[in-house]
Symmetry: C2
Subunit: 350 residues, 2 copies
């Protein structure tokens, strides 16, 4: 099966100078993939013609006349820019020309456009943002990382279903363990929504581990960590801020005087290996999960390597049938989880 | 002025073997302080008699017959253990014998007992847990870190007032900047409670900076960061988990082979300086703020140095009149913030 990925070539801080080389590198390592670059004609053609990549023949260009700005209000991007590179790329998934779409552009706009164009999967009220984080044991998939600031317990259960299916598809883990982010492990802890969510998860066919705390995220206690988008976004941003601060402190200490700088030289292989291990580029690519199509959001500042990882993520999700897996797991849930779940359960799956 | 600190000598993972040496070390560096050790007679006397500290004469022993267990439900600790070391220590603050109380015991029990015995300050609905975190610029005081899972916007504004007064008292900063933890800087971001809180803070006499995001916590963007206890607790625990993971990775890389281990030796001064800079013991001591008395919670696993920092924190808060400062700032707030604020404003301050 060939997987076609629509790439918003204009998105992100660097646009075509990063997205196009990344797309070609991705194609070189993924022989059964194709890419449709969506963007303004001139800048895309300029980068593309310079390429001597062997994968050049698996790239096609689709013109778009507008670009969504990084700080543009999502509602404006949705209503006023019908021919943006982002919108056209999502349209290609909608009409079946592509199976996935990747953009490093404005997150809010991508979510608004993807939700409007693709709609959510049956049984899913709202899409969520899911991402992998490095842990002491491997990786954890956390969601929602910022799409939904207020969540009902049914929605949190839907996130659990989506996270479970995503981990099965991407990491090949059958019945991944699900942790519910809380401020204590005991059942009595947390707010009412979290407490009720725990009850629903216990009664579900999912492999529910129980409540987990913030530090469990990096301990790798569970394969999936579920939380609302406010808490998830804070957890993610706090982590980013802390890593930057710690790197900064480490660098300062190693640069403090000539003796220390000499020590840094000796320590370089260890420091480089350390940095590589937590390299955020390796974890680049957040999935907008719950839609009728695979949509991956790359970090806006991603370089070629980072954007390539985001493309690979989209490809892997399609190749492993993540959408079918979510539909299947939602159908297996008790009817109470979602107003539409009972209907879905009665339908045959694709 | 002499400041008397009541110490729950039995609290924490190590009890008197840590709390008593820490109390003596604290007294040696703080000539105008006194300590009342509260605990079971025999174990406290055993540690105390071995001491040759010059500060020995500024320590007195107050017997208690019970100890609150680290995993005891707070309601049980409150109702069934009226003669616990924790309860007696808080009682000493209530009756004016001591001006502050420090415990490394069960956080929930300490909060329940302190709230029941001391009550909240006029104009404060609920106490919060406040702590200092290291940042790229210095320190930030964050609250609430876990006492209140559901907060109204009025309560969040009260946290801002308490945080502001705390920073003025402890760090000597007049009009500290206040950040409201959110998932975006724009006014339209976040849930309804956060949006309304921002409006109230804008209209207040506090030095409100605006919304801040998770990474601003460690950038040190503002002197105070306000959030509800669920989000604050997750942010704190996520940070703890991340630091442990990064240390672990760093250690693994430096121990991977003999050459790397040699490099680690050369890098030791830099690594030690780095570790010292983020040493959690230096930031030990969370303040239960908003009570009619100074109550500081030490980390349960704190060693002598860590517990000494918690004692010093309690002392500093008392010496700099933190309670008066909170009362003063609450009185200066518009009446809408708190049902009782209008009454407070009409009362003379101590």
């Amino acid at each position: 099966m060939t997987v076609t990925v629509a790439v918003d070539a204009m998105g992100g801080d660097h646009g075509p100078s990063v997205t196009i080389p990344a797309a070609l590198a991705f194609l070189e390592e993924t022989p059964d993939a194709r890419v449709i670059l969506v963007g303004l004609d001139a800048p895309c053609a300029a980068v593309l013609t310079k390429s001597r990549s062997s994968a050049r023949d698996r790239v096609s260009l689709q013109a778009a006349t507008e670009v969504v700005a990084m700080d543009e209000p999502p509602a404006d991007a949705l209503r006023k820019k019908k021919d943006s590179s982002m919108r056209v790329a999502v349209n290609l998934v909608k009409d079946g020309t592509a199976q996935a779409c990747v953009s490093a552009g404005n997150t809010g706009a991508l979510m608004a456009i993807a939700r409007f164009v693709l709609k959510t999967l049956p049984g899913i009220d709202r899409p969520a943002i899911a991402s992998q984080l490095p842990t002491r044991k491997g990786v954890t998939t956390a969601l929602d990382l910022g799409a939904n600031v207020n969540c009902t317990c049914e929605q949190l259960v839907q996130f659990a279903v989506m996270g479970s299916a995503l981990v099965t598809a991407v990491d090949g883990i059958e019945r991944p363990t699900i942790g519910l982010l809380n401020i204590g492990e005991e059942d009595i802890k947390g707010n009412d929504v979290v407490k009720q969510t725990a009850e629903l998860l216990k009664a579900s066919p999912l492999n529910f581990y129980g409540n987990v705390e913030g530090d469990d995220l990096y301990k790798g206690t569970t394969d999936v960590v579920v939380c609302d988008g406010f808490v998830g976004n804070v957890a993610l941003k706090v982590s980013e801020g802390l890593v930057v601060m710690l790197y900064d402190f480490l660098k300062t200490e190693f640069m403090r005087n000539p003796v220390r700088r000499l020590a840094a030289l000796a320590a370089f292989p260890a420091l480089r290996a350390f940095k590589k291990r937590v390299d955020p580029r390796r974890y680049n690519g957040a999935t907008l999960v719950g839609l009728r199509g695979v949509v991956v959001k790359s970090h806006g500042g991603a370089d070629v390597l980072g954007f390539r990882y985001a493309l690979l993520k989209a490809y892997t999700e399609v190749a492993n049938g993540v959408l079918d897996k979510i539909a299947h797991e939602i159908a297996a849930m008790p009817a109470a989880i979602s107003p539409t779940a009972a209907v879905v359960a009665a339908e045959p799956h694709a």
